[in-house]
């Protein structure tokens, strides 16, 4: 079959209405059923902080929170987030605040950002870890970040930044992500 036919078949993918919360704000979208959450965030909503890397769940650059858990946005179909709570890197710092979120501040302090491409995904994995475990040890940190590839830092600075963030972070820095909510079991 010609690629033109293939393309027209693909663009004809049906749409579905979904409602969800993005960074605490209710959203309603009409989304093609073959779109991923990653594509919805970047191409429709213009949230470019979530990076598009491998698109097969290997690199972690597209990590976001889906009902308080870290997931690869490239492996979630947009229709699947109906009713869900999604947080992206744009939601971390309070709008207009003088400082970034403590996790972001720790990454700057420890030089855990080089080219920066992996950083939003890494930060979201760290957030998911700290929501579940306030005092992670080094093994727990490594395990939580095993799905995030960084080709610049060698991870040392990232791990140091996570340890520092875990010490400085308070309940008030986590509460808006639903730290005490039960979430879905």
């Amino acid at each position: 079959m010609s690629s033109v036919t293939e393309q027209s078949k693909l663009t004809a993918a049906p749409s579905i209405k979904i409602e969800f919360r993005l960074n605490g704000i209710p959203q309603k979208r009409d989304v093609p059923v073959n779109w991923t959450l990653l594509r919805l965030l970047r191409d429709d909503l213009g949230f470019l902080g979530t990076k598009c890397g491998c698109e097969i769940g290997e690199c972690g650059a597209c990590t976001v929170l889906f009902d308080r858990r870290a997931v690869n946005a490239c492996l979630v179909l947009a229709p699947q987030i109906d009713g869900a709570e999604i947080w992206t890197i744009e939601g971390l710092a309070e709008p207009g605040a003088a400082r970034l979120h403590p996790i972001q501040e720790a990454f700057i302090k420890y030089g855990a950002v080089h080219c920066g491409f992996c950083t939003p995904g890494v930060v979201m994995s760290v957030l998911a870890l700290l929501l579940e475990n306030k005092n992670p040890d080094e093994e727990e940190i490594k395990s939580a970040l095993a799905g995030n590839l960084c080709r610049c830092t060698g991870y040392k600075q990232i791990i140091d930044a996570v340890k520092s963030a875990a010490e400085s972070i308070g309940a008030e820095d986590l509460v808006k992500f639903g730290v005490n909510a039960g979430g879905r079991k």
Partner: protein, 281 residues
């Protein structure tokens, strides 16, 4: 581009079953295996079962029942699994990455039937059985009979995997699960092996169970090795020989393939290590 022709989200299991009887639908839960396949060109009509009541872990007497849409992360975190099915908890805790474990499900791992699926050797050790549901009713089948080949199962197109049952009181004094890959994270297994041993203070083995992935065309137990361990005294020499028997069985069943020169010594070593760990030698 991902080719999804249709996306259906049923409100309950009954509706899911009706839909599957009417149309050729592919169930999707976490999508961690399926979405990369869709990206590679597979096209399908999807039935999203991720929101049905298929995420649970329950003690039902002699068995632990795990809902098909229970995530690997939930299984790895579960105290009940840790207590009754420790090998399954460990295997699920080593799948992919935190992100993959949060989405990927046990039912999906089985339905995808990859020869290197990490949960399968552990499930085989616990005599796992599947509960399938269709409009014609419930069907229960042993996992060992369900997976019919690499990426092939005996699921009828109208059937939905609803749960996996594992026998809970298999006599055990020690167990081990070893996963081998090219690197430690986001790793597709090169081979994995699960083992349990039951023995007395005299080190005489009452029973042993071993299962491996990526060794045979379909993950399976190793009865040849289990038989030679029965009644023998646990020693390093015995476990070395057990490894050699495992490797001979692999060649007999899978033939000599391009990977055999690698897998033979690796299987000997992994079998030996798993048994040594399980026997606490």
């Amino acid at each position: 581009m991902i080719n999804v022709i249709q996306y259906i989200r049923p409100r309950n299991i009954d509706e899911a079953i009706e839909r599957m009887a009417a149309d050729e639908l592919v169930p999707i839960a976490g999508g961690t295996d399926l979405i990369p396949q869709l990206r590679r060109g597979r096209s399908c009509r999807l039935l999203d079962i991720g929101r049905l009541t298929l995420g649970f872990i329950e003690d039902i007497g002699d068995w632990i029942e795990v809902g098909a849409a229970t995530s690997h992360a939930e299984i790895a975190r579960s105290k009940l699994i840790g207590k009754c099915l420790p090998l399954l908890g460990r295997a699920c805790g080593l799948i992919g990455s935190a992100q993959i474990r949060n989405r990927g499900t046990i039912g999906g791992n089985i339905a995808n039937a990859s020869p290197c699926a990490d949960s399968v050797p552990a499930l085989l050790i616990y005599d796992a059985e599947l509960k399938l549901l269709s409009r014609s009713g419930e069907r229960r089948i042993k996992l060992a009979e369900f997976i019919s080949g690499p990426y092939r199962t005996n699921r009828r197109p109208d059937e939905l995997i609803v749960s996996i049952l594992c026998r809970k009181n298999i006599p055990t004094t020690g167990n081990a699960f070893i996963k081998l890959g090219r690197r430690q994270a986001v790793n597709i297994s090169r081979m994995s092996i699960a083992a349990i041993i039951e023995m007395g203070a005299d080190r005489i083995i009452g029973s042993a169970r071993l299962a491996a992935s990526s060794v045979f065309p379909v993950s399976s137990r190793m009865p040849e090795v289990e038989r030679m361990l029965y009644g023998a005294t646990a020693t390093p020499e015995l476990f070395r020989i057990a490894g050699e028997v495992a490797a001979e069985t692999m060649v007999a069943k899978s033939g000599r393939r391009w990977s055999t020169p690698y897998k033979e010594p690796v299987l000997i070593g992994l079998t030996e290590r798993a048994l040594t760990e399980a026997a606490d030698l």
